[in-house]
């Protein structure tokens, strides 16, 4: 029996923590909080995104809240600025998040520029990133798959850069693997693919390109069986990571035989 120990990966170290899971998940679009809880548990994620919204005045008091189900004691909560179309509202959202999470400074900054594609507004994202960093926030920034901008955000002081694979919620997968690879090659901070993953193989490809992690929501929450998809994504991220560490064979135009050519008896 083969008992050889497989080389252990280093955990993902950033934001003042070490994380063994390289899959980050959102909490949106689930049927209910119980499904949210089960899917996130199955994903193995340690970092979980949330949105900041108005409370419903006059809501059912007995209804559990998200942070009771996804407790900050068990997960690193990553508030996002989803729905913000300018730097000012994104900054306000982060400040509110910091207050409601007792001084927690880790945020996912996204400033959107277009309702149809939800592509980021880069000039506004730059303004927001700069101000948030000056205010001691730890900024994980959602950006497009542009290597120049990715580097710019790193130089600005973002603690992680998160290029999109494809539009948010589109499930189109990695549309520009060469750019993602270039971003990874240039990076001095963790690079996480954020948005666009549709199924497990997409997550594996992101990791095979050398990304430090993948952040997704719709691909899990929108699946017919979100809990099963969460489990699939966990394995895909792990498999992709191991494949990256193992070093894949180069692509060749023609065959190379797997069995020896010498010693044939025919």
């Amino acid at each position: 029996m083969n008992t050889e120990v497989i080389k252990e990966d280093n955990p993902l170290s950033f934001a003042g923590g070490t994380f063994h899971s390289r899959l980050l998940v959102g909490t949106g679009k689930y049927r209910d909080l119980e499904e949210t809880r089960r899917a996130i548990e199955a994903s193995g994620a340690e970092i979980v995104t949330v949105a900041i919204r108005r409370t419903n005045i006059g809501q059912d008091k007995n209804e559990p809240s998200l942070l009771e189900v996804i407790s900050p004691d068990n997960y690193t909560i990553l508030p996002n600025t989803a729905g913000c179309y300018d730097a000012e509202s994104a900054i306000r959202t982060c400040q509110m998040a910091r207050e409601l999470l007792d001084g927690h400074t880790l945020v996912k900054l996204e400033v959107l520029g277009d309702e149809k594609t939800l592509f980021p507004d880069i000039p506004e994202t730059l303004v927001a990133a700069e101000k948030l960093i000056a205010d001691d926030f730890q900024v994980m920034v959602y950006t497009n798959d542009d290597p120049v901008m990715a580097k710019r955000f790193e130089e600005l002081g973002c603690i992680a850069v998160m290029p999109l694979a494809a539009p948010i919620g589109s499930g189109l997968g990695i549309r520009n693997p060469y750019n993602i690879r270039t971003i990874v090659e240039n990076a001095g901070v963790p690079i996480l693919v954020d948005a666009g993953v549709g199924t497990a193989s997409d997550a594996a490809i992101a990791m095979e390109l050398g990304c430090d992690g993948v952040l997704m929501n719709t691909a899990i929450a929108g699946a017919d069986d979100p809990v099963l998809m969460a489990s699939a994504m966990k394995k895909a991220v792990e498999a992709g990571r191991e494949a990256w560490l193992a070093g894949r064979i180069p692509r060749r135009a023609y065959a190379t035989a797997s069995s020896p050519i010498d010693g044939t008896f025919f």
């Binding site: 949106g28 949105a51 900041i52 006059g58």
Partner: protein, 65 residues
């Protein structure tokens, strides 16, 4: 007196504090409060007075990506 609470007109008694408002709404758990775009630290909820016309936002964390 009238204030604007989460974008809608809301009637509240004179001299109420943020703490009074939260109690009246029976809001618990993790939330953050902004008055006229200024964040109100939790530690000052009980002492922070609300004035007529104040625009108050009360937010919490919900599901999102």
């Amino acid at each position: 007196m009238q204030i604007v609470l989460n974008g809608k007109p809301f009637e509240i008694k004179e001299n109420a504090t943020v703490g009074d408002l939260l109690q009246e709404l029976d809001l618990q758990g993790k939330l953050a409060v902004e008055i006229n775009r200024e964040i109100i630290p939790r530690s000052t909820f009980r002492s922070r007075p609300i004035r007529a016309g104040d625009e108050i936002e009360i937010v919490h964390a919900i599901g999102g990506g």
